[in-house]
């Protein structure tokens, strides 16, 4: 691919440590570099090994770019957790795609009903308010045992401009390279994602 003509494409990823948020970014970066599309991937995991807020920023198609995506500029937001999705709203650009995997990872205070937790409708309103296109995916739509992040990756490739930038077949190959022993399961999750039309 001639990277001179590649349109820049910015992806903002959020979720909770342990959901494979950073892995999505790593796989997409590898696929981009394999296509000779310049990529800058900037993961931020803070202090959390697991259960803490995680974000990552992937900037594709710019020869040299700063790591941080400006507000109102992300072509695609992937939120792997509903509440954390709210933190990404300020980054979606007008007409950008906002995909939320509607998983509720309740902090203890929420679990004990001592603290509120946002509804999916609230997130949807916020995304619409920011001018984004809202796509919600539901954990019960994916058979148990299949990787949710790989599924969401498939959905993103099939339903957003990302699919025109990166070759889904190459992304699938990168997933297989990463986990050769789980190839069949991941291929299944990825295919199911690719078959989702929103």
């Amino acid at each position: 691919m001639n990277n001179e003509t590649t349109q820049p494409f910015d992806i903002y990823l959020v979720g909770v440590g342990g959901q494979g948020v950073l892995t999505i970014g790593e796989i997409l970066s590898e696929a981009a570099l394999a296509q000779e599309i310049p990529a800058n991937f900037y993961p931020t995991k803070g202090m959390a090994q697991r259960g803490g807020f995680v974000k990552a920023q992937l900037r594709l198609g710019r020869q040299a770019s700063g790591a941080n995506i400006p507000e109102r500029s992300a072509d695609l937001v992937i939120a792997m957790e509903r509440s954390e999705g709210l933190k990404a709203v300020r980054f979606i650009k007008l007409g950008g795609d906002f995909i939320v995997w509607d998983h509720v990872w309740a902090p203890t205070a929420v679990m004990l009903e001592q603290a509120p937790y946002p509804t999916l409708e609230h997130l949807s309103e916020q995304v619409h308010g920011a001018g984004g296109r809202f796509h919600d995916l539901h954990p019960h739509d994916l058979p148990k045992g299949l990787s949710e992040n790989i599924f969401v990756l498939g959905v993103a490739l099939n339903n957003t401009a990302l699919g025109r930038l990166l070759q889904p077949e190459l992304v699938r190959a990168k997933i297989e390279e990463r986990w050769p022993e789980a190839a069949a399961k991941n291929a299944d999750a990825f295919r199911r994602g690719l078959e989702v039309y929103r």
Binding site: V16, Q49, A67, P70, L86, R90, I92, T108, L112, A130
Partner: protein, 611 residues
């Protein structure tokens, strides 16, 4: 950073882990480059001295640390700066504007100014590779240690870049043994002042060498009278994108002059003078402190430049947080006297209603047992938690400040838990004073503070939460890590031997997975006079889990669980959640520490020993 150093022929690399600087040595330790000595040192001061010793011996050396670590190493660095070096020596320091890792928003560029040492700063990963090599050359040519400063957004970025494959092993250089007290000691005013003179001369030479090496890139617009931009480090990476927005506002990028500043210190005065002569106003893009801005103002006064200098002192910018595209656009607009749309690159703030997600220790973390036991011990002694000072320290152990523990009161710097605790005692606090510290932090800077407590018999209780690894920064080996994980030829130091040998007569060792014994030991220790040390030892559960270790099988007996949720409210373990009939334990997360079973009042959690 690491590949650039290898390419530059580095022979000795030493550092101490600290986000976001840790990956350089982690990468080199894994790569095991031939002929290169790589180590995690006990602390940054030791690491820097190792690098300096190697550089005095004529070899190229690198030391790595986060900004807090530079504070620790700085005492030696000032002195080494006076002496200069023979082999190229690079000090890699990582700052964290925007605080993604949780520490001060320190601007380490100030240290370069104070030490009169050159400092380079790249804008992107690709530039880091280039400047890493340039820093060695600059150091070699000037005889001065050189700082290379990165910020998190650059240090943690992953990007494709062209590198020369397989750098050769470092060249075989003679080991210099130079006996010269005029240079290597500070024995007397004449010596110190002569060295100070040499130091300033080296910095002046650095300015010339930096110009010869074309490390700063100046582009003057075809027409004079426009806006000039001085972009420092990471801020320079956003220029092109900012120009796209400016073009839409009617500002032609061709009308702008730009100085991309890689040498934060010394300021390239020639290029600055060119900008003064060409531009009607200047914009300074630099994160954190207005250091370059202040120097520009001084230069402007010296050279009689009367244009505006836009930044933090006159201008819209803040000393807090990161810069991005918005600062480029707003800054140029202000400098050009244009209005900038208020909502430009400002999104809809929706995070207000996001659930708070205070982080806690991992499932199976031994620190959970230690903090649960400490809270119980305080209760058993009929004390209130807000009467008992529990000082905290750096690393995972600080999570004792968060729910559900609320045990730890403060966090200062490596090893500070011990000194602060002694201060509360000296102030006259009569209730028990407890210091908490992790193993690596204790080795790093806790040792001198404990020695102080022993000498003065400060009646504190120190709890060393020993999980065997430098865990928070990504599982580095430290002096206390088990023998099996030390490299061949290294020797482990056992805290259980070391602490009593420091004159601590009341020493206890407990397993924090055993809540009862740990609590009883704490109750006993807290009632004693003098210095008490409790070593709470159990390996980090992330590490033991990676090796497939499970301790017990733990399961909820549905018929007995009353859903009182005490296991969740007391332990806060991420493996526990509320089911319809009973509490659930996620088997994928649980490592079998069984602390939930030990706090369950209904005995509804069954534990079964394995093996």
């Amino acid at each position: 950073m690491a590949l650039g150093a290898l390419r530059a022929g580095v022979k000795v690399v030493a550092g101490y882990p600290g986000t976001p600087s840790s990956e350089t040595i982690a990468f080199l330790l894994a790569k095991k480059p031939e002929g290169v000595h790589v180590e995690w040192s006990t602390n940054e001061k030791v690491a820097l001295e190792i690098a300096a010793g190697a550089a005095w011996a004529g070899q190229r050396s690198l030391t790595t640390m986060k900004m807090s670590g530079l504070n620790v190493a700085y005492d030696s660095l000032i002195s080494i700066a006076y002496s200069g070096v023979n082999g190229g020596m690079v000090v890699y320091v990582a700052d964290d504007p925007g605080v993604s890792a949780g520490m001060a928003e320190q601007d380490s560029r100030g240290f370069a100014l104070m030490a009169d040492l050159p400092m380079l700063e790249p804008a992107t990963p690709a530039e880091t590779y280039r400047l890493s090599q340039a820093a060695f050359e600059l150091s070699q040519r000037t005889g001065s240690p050189v700082f290379l400063r990165l910020v998190t957004a650059v240090a943690h970025s992953h990007a494709g870049l062209e590198v020369e494959e397989n750098p050769p092993p470092p060249p075989e250089l003679p080991i210099l043994l130079e006996r010269d007290i005029q240079r290597y000691t500070k024995a007397g005013a004449a010596i110190c002042m002569a060295q100070h003179h040499d130091l300033i001369a080296r910095l002046e030479k650095a300015e010339e060498v930096i110009r010869e090496m074309s490390l700063n890139v100046l582009h003057l617009a075809p027409d004079a009278g426009g806006v000039g931009i001085i972009a420092c480090g990471a801020a320079a990476a956003y220029l092109e994108e900012g120009f796209e927005h400016l073009a839409k506002l009617g500002v032609s990028p061709e009308s702008l002059s730009v100085l991309r500043l890689s040498s934060v210190h010394p300021l390239p005065r020639q290029e600055v003078a060119s900008l003064f002569g060409h531009c009607s106003a200047l914009l300074v893009l630099e994160e954190l402190e207005p250091l370059v801005e202040r120097e520009l103002i001084v230069e402007a006064r010296r050279l009689g430049y009367s244009g505006r200098i836009i930044g933090k002192m006159e201008g819209p910018f803040n000393r807090i947080g990161e810069y991005g595209v918005r600062q480029v656009v707003e800054g140029v607009a202000v400098a050009a006297g244009l209005a900038c749309p208020k909502d430009l690159l400002r999104g809809l703030a929706a995070e207000e209603r996001a659930a708070a997600r205070p982080i806690t220790v991992c499932a199976g973390c031994p620190h959970r047992g230690t903090y649960l036991a400490l809270n119980r011990a305080i209760r058993l002694l009929k004390l209130k938690k807000d009467e008992v000072m529990v000082t905290g320290d750096i690393g995972c152990t600080i999570l004792g400040m968060n729910p559900p523990f609320h045990t730890v009161w403060n966090e200062v710097s490596m090893g500070a838990s011990l000194g602060i605790a002694q201060g509360y005692l000296a102030a006259g606090l009569k209730t028990p004073v407890i210091a908490t510290i992790g193993d690596s932090t204790f080795f790093h800077a806790g040792l001198p503070a404990l020695i102080n407590a022993v000498q003065h018999q400060a009646p504190l209780t120190l709890i060393i939460l020993d999980n065997g690894w430098t865990a928070m920064t990504g599982m580095q080996v430290n002096p206390g890590t088990a023998e099996a994980f030390q490299r061949p030829g290294w020797q482990r130091l056992d805290l259980a031997t070391l602490v009593p040998a420091m004159g601590v007569q009341q020493f206890f060792q407990v397993d924090p997975y055993d809540l009862k014994t740990t609590t009883e030991t704490m109750v006993q220790a807290l009632a004693l006079h003098g210095v008490k040390v409790i070593l709470a030892r159990r390996e980090c559960s992330i590490q033991s889990k990676r090796r497939g270790l499970r301790f017990r099988r733990v399961r909820v007996l549905e018929e007995k669980c009353t859903l009182c949720k005490l296991c969740i409210t007391t332990t806060g373990c991420p493996a526990l959640s509320i089911g319809e009939k009973a509490v659930l334990i996620d088997p994928a997360v649980c490592v079998g520490c069984s602390l939930c079973a030990q706090v369950c009042p209904a005995k509804a959690i069954e534990k079964e020993e394995i093996g």
